[in-house]
């Protein structure tokens, strides 16, 4: 169960942000912003060739109360999931499957003719689906 999900575009600007607790959202924005540095490192870093070619980047970094995971698609879209640290039951594979679901949702939304790539995503159905993925009710 994720606490916050962000979809960031190729130019590092946020396209979609959703948190379970809206009061914390601004705080998460700061954290996600700084995690972008690590994402960049991982995909453009020196030891890029030896890294695994998986889209899932793993744990980006951990805060006292939250953990931040990253995922970069081939089209350079970045997905970030923020998870509560105290939620120890959450395994890596579950995070991976959450990312895959988010990727699937995103692939669908980009095929929607009313969505212009590069703009923020404002579709209600999309927001609902992401909320469901976050709470694990899918």
């Amino acid at each position: 169960m994720a606490v916050c999900v962000a979809i960031i575009g190729k130019d590092n600007s946020p396209k979609f942000l959703s948190s379970l607790n809206p009061d914390e959202e601004l705080c998460f924005q700061y954290k996600i912003l700084s995690s972008l540095d690590i994402v960049e490192e991982k995909i453009h870093g020196v030891n890029r060739a030896t890294d695994n070619r998986e889209l899932f980047l793993g744990l980006l970094y951990a805060l006292e109360t939250h953990k931040i995971y990253g995922y970069v698609t081939n089209t350079k879209m970045k997905f970030i999931i923020v998870v509560d640290s105290s939620n120890i039951a959450l395994r890596d594979n579950e995070i991976r499957s959450m990312f895959r679901k988010i990727h699937s949702e995103y692939a669908d939304i980009i095929c929607n003719p009313f969505y212009i790539p590069g703009e923020p995503i404002t579709f209600k159905s999309f927001a609902n689906n992401i909320k469901n993925i976050m709470t694990g009710t899918v």
Binding site: K10, I43, E54, L55, T73, N74, T75, M77, D108, P117
Partner: protein, 162 residues
């Protein structure tokens, strides 16, 4: 296979529609300058830009530009045209030439010189498709095509590096 032919027919109609639209908008189409196919190419661009997310969803990350081009020649082409590109050549400095010896949309037109002058219309959508897909994968390019003998077609991709 049935749904493939639906798309082929749809593609032909799309070409017709765009050409007709051009003619109603511009009364004088100068024969010396060739037909304006920008709208058709942009339709392909928009399509390619959007569809590539779905097509690359399950694949591991591309290592480099050449890796991406190989994907285009194999998985991408198979997904759309039911076959792979027959020949890929590159000068390793941003120019790629993809050759399809039996391009799907031309194979139904002819395999002689007949209708050669109309064949640009039927490859423009694919040029846009390639450009859009590459653009979303982070490769800015200009895609053009050349047809000498139907139904074989060559796509030239020129990667723009600044």
């Amino acid at each position: 296979m049935c749904d493939q032919s639906v798309f082929e027919i749809f593609h032909s109609e799309l070409v017709n529609y765009v050409i007709q639209n051009n003619e109603t908008q511009l009364k004088n189409t100068s024969k010396t300058h060739g037909e304006d196919l920008s709208n058709l190419e942009y339709i392909g661009f928009s399509t390619g830009f959007r569809i590539i997310e779905r097509l690359t969803r399950e694949l591991p990350r591309f290592r480099d530009e050449l890796d991406t081009m190989k994907f285009i020649c194999t998985d991408f082409w198979s997904a759309i045209y039911m076959k792979q590109i027959d020949n890929l050549r590159t000068n390793h400095q941003g120019i790629y030439v993809l050759q399809d010896n039996c391009f799907r949309y031309l194979s139904k037109l002819s395999n002689t010189k007949q209708y050669l002058d109309l064949s640009p219309r039927y490859v423009t959508f694919t040029c846009g498709l390639l450009r859009g897909s590459l653009a979303n994968l982070g490769i800015r390019s200009i895609v053009t095509a050349e047809v000498q003998t139907m139904p074989s077609c060559k796509f030239h991709i020129q990667v723009q590096r600044n």
